[in-house]
């Protein structure tokens, strides 16, 4: 017997989505309140600043959620895959989308009616709790992303601190070692970060063969890479 994967009762994606807590009756109801569409690779699913009509549930394929920064460059916020729901933030806050969703490959996506979804989470505590779990998980991912962005910035700062120290104190006779001995605390002060972070990043530079560490002495073994890391070559 053939079961249509776009029917909620037989949808594999639903079983690992927020809708996995619904009973048979509720699943049948969900099926009545959704419609499915196919999207080609590169096709826009929803546009930034549009008002949401419903909740998108990914049946098959991968989707990119992105926005444009001030400089006009695209910033990818996150990726979505089979079983993920999209557009819930705008839907729950009753706001416009703050990002666009674009299919990264051929996709099959269902849209669940806005009114039905809002009523469902009001009446079904299990579904509400699944949504809270989903939002919390996405928030954690977003916070990790923020940390990784700020770490990238600190990496730049460590590199530029080394360039400023080189220009100020010069190099020793080997023409590679910075002619000053600074503790890790002092370097962290220049960078404006915690000592632990400075230690970790110096160690990363050491592993990346940009510098060599020998006690308090720092030897620059790849100056071009250091300049590139500092992002100061404008």
């Amino acid at each position: 017997m053939h079961h249509d994967s776009q029917t909620c009762q037989f949808c594999n994606a639903r079983t690992h989505s927020v809708f996995n807590v619904l009973d048979n009756e509720q699943v049948a109801e969900l099926n009545q309140n959704k419609s499915c569409s196919s999207y080609k690779k590169g096709q826009i699913i929803f546009n930034e600043n549009a008002m949401p009509n419903g909740l998108y549930c990914v049946n098959l394929g991968k989707i990119k959620l992105s926005t444009l920064g001030f400089d006009g460059k695209e910033q990818i916020l996150r990726l979505a895959k089979s079983g993920d729901v999209l557009g819930y933030r705008a839907l729950l806050a009753n706001e416009r989308y703050h990002c666009s969703a674009v299919a990264l490959e051929d996709c099959s996506i269902c849209i669940i009616d806005k009114k039905y979804f809002q009523q469902s989470i009001e009446n079904n505590h299990k579904l509400l709790f699944e949504m809270v779990k989903k939002i919390s998980s996405d928030l954690k991912t977003a916070e990790e992303h923020i940390v990784s962005l700020s770490q990238k910035n600190v990496r730049e700062r460590v590199a530029e601190a080394l360039l400023f120290l080189k220009a100020t104190y010069g190099l020793m006779d080997d023409e590679q070692t910075i002619n000053v001995s600074l503790s890790r605390e002092e370097i962290a002060d220049y960078v404006g970060t915690a000592t632990e972070t400075a230690i970790r990043l110096l160690s990363e530079f050491n592993q990346d063969k940009i510098i060599e560490l020998s006690g308090k002495k720092i030897k620059i073994i790849n100056l071009q890479k250091l300049i590139k890391t500092a992002n100061l070559n404008d």
Binding site: G69, F70, D71, H98, N153, R157, E160, A161, L163, F164, L165, A167, T168, Y169, G170, L171, N179, Y190, G192, N231, L232, N233, D234
Partner: protein
């Protein structure tokens, strides 16, 4: 003491006490204006992110200048005799690094100006526009003047023409550039 080093010291003190303090104060005012404008708008959040980047970048520049660049410039003009055991600060290289950081600041200012165009229409833009104006009309101009002054002094300070430190500093720069 060489008159040049005295002039430069005065310039540095005026810049730190005047221009830099004004900018630091305006950062506090803008920070507070974001708190009062808080409404969770996504574009305002992006604008706040760009503002924080600008503040961090400026504070980083100020730290390098006050701890390394300014003392190095003064040192070059004050030290009459070359100490063979000590290396000489490479002033022009320091000025180039400083310029690169100022370019970053300029780019961030441009981004904030663009961001203001798309921000929430209820957002009070006065204080952030004032900050942009301080950077655009005062900061970049005064920093260019400062750089020119240092370069002129390096080339033209008569009482230090024979100073080996100055010669060596210029030589180092030539080597770096070539």
């Amino acid at each position: 003491m060489c008159a040049t080093s005295s002039t430069l010291k005065t310039e540095i003190q005026q810049m730190l006490a005047g221009l830099y303090s004004t900018i630091q104060f305006q950062f506090i005012v803008v920070d507070a204006s974001f708190v009062f404008n808080e409404n969770g708008n996504e574009k305002n959040n992006q604008l706040f992110g760009a503002f924080i980047q600008l503040r961090n970048e400026f504070q980083s520049l100020e730290m390098y200048e006050s701890k390394l660049v300014f003392p190095s410039v003064i040192k070059i003009f004050e030290q009459k005799k070359l100490d063979k055991n000590k290396t000489v600060p490479n002033i022009l290289e320091l000025l180039e690094l400083t310029k690169s950081k100022e370019n970053k600041l300029f780019q961030l200012i441009e981004n904030i100006e663009l961001g203001l165009k798309t921000s929430d229409e209820n957002f009070d833009k006065n204080e952030i526009e004032k900050l942009i104006s301080i950077f655009k009309t005062d900061f970049f101009q005064q920093k260019n003047d400062w750089k020119k002054l240092v370069e002129d002094k390096l080339n033209g300070c008569k009482c230090l023409q024979s100073n080996e430190l100055i010669s060596l500093s210029k030589l180092q720069t030539t080597l770096v550039k070539t």
